[in-house]
């Protein structure tokens, strides 16, 4: 089976104080840095009633990632693991997953805390966080 390629269209981009991959924290969630997500006007209806949501998943396209990397050694680890077993930004499809706190919504601009993406990173999706389905607690 050789499935067809799939085309993503960025829905916006990140405005961040992190200018290079070196600046960005390993896990944005532990940082108090405030970033902005600028959604393209044509997608503004998709933000309807997002105010009041406390936590969002932000999916970005890590366009500086190395898509040929299949194994990597996480910081602090002593041995390589497959990229599907870790959170390396380098992976065959570098779609990042980062939970943020939503601080403010102004038109097409979301002010958020805890985003790990660097300035200019394309945003491909936003989803509301669900404590029920997104936690590993025993069911």
């Amino acid at each position: 089976m050789t499935p067809a390629p799939i085309e993503l269209h960025p829905v916006g981009h990140v405005r961040s104080p992190y200018k290079t991959r070196h600046d960005a924290p390993r896990q944005g969630r532990f940082s108090d840095t405030v970033s902005e997500i600028v959604i393209d006007e044509k997608y503004q209806p998709a933000l309807w009633q997002i105010e009041g949501k406390k936590n969002l998943w932000v999916l970005c396209w890590f366009d500086r990632a190395d898509r040929t990397v299949l194994r990597a050694t996480p910081p602090g680890a002593s041995a390589e693991k497959g990229v599907f077993a870790i959170r390396s930004p380098d992976r065959p499809n570098p779609v990042s997953l980062c939970m943020v706190d939503l601080l403010e919504v102004n038109g097409c601009v979301l002010k958020v805390r805890g985003l790990d993406a660097i300035d200019g990173t394309p945003v491909i999706d936003i989803k509301v966080y669900s404590a029920e389905t997104d936690s590993a607690k025993e069911r």
Copy 2:
């Protein structure tokens, strides 16, 4: 700013008892259904040491989704919301996010519980779950 389109390459596909969108549960996480994720051989190194991980995020490409939908009414809700404020499968870039329990690894095949994707759905990424960064608890 009109960013360039981005090309994803599926890394595998789903084998599921759900054959149509109608069969699939609204949230796979609440189901005991067992599915298989079949990773293409060329990406097998990315599974290195994934055994022993209890929970994984599976990102799929919902190829049956309607990419023109920007607002939708969630089941049980009384009013429309923007798709970025909910978990509708219909959205501009239908990348799904589903947490699963990893039950077994056999070569390129992962047996998992709780996946919401229907049979044949392309898989684009797998990431290990991190209780630290992936929960909404106050920091």
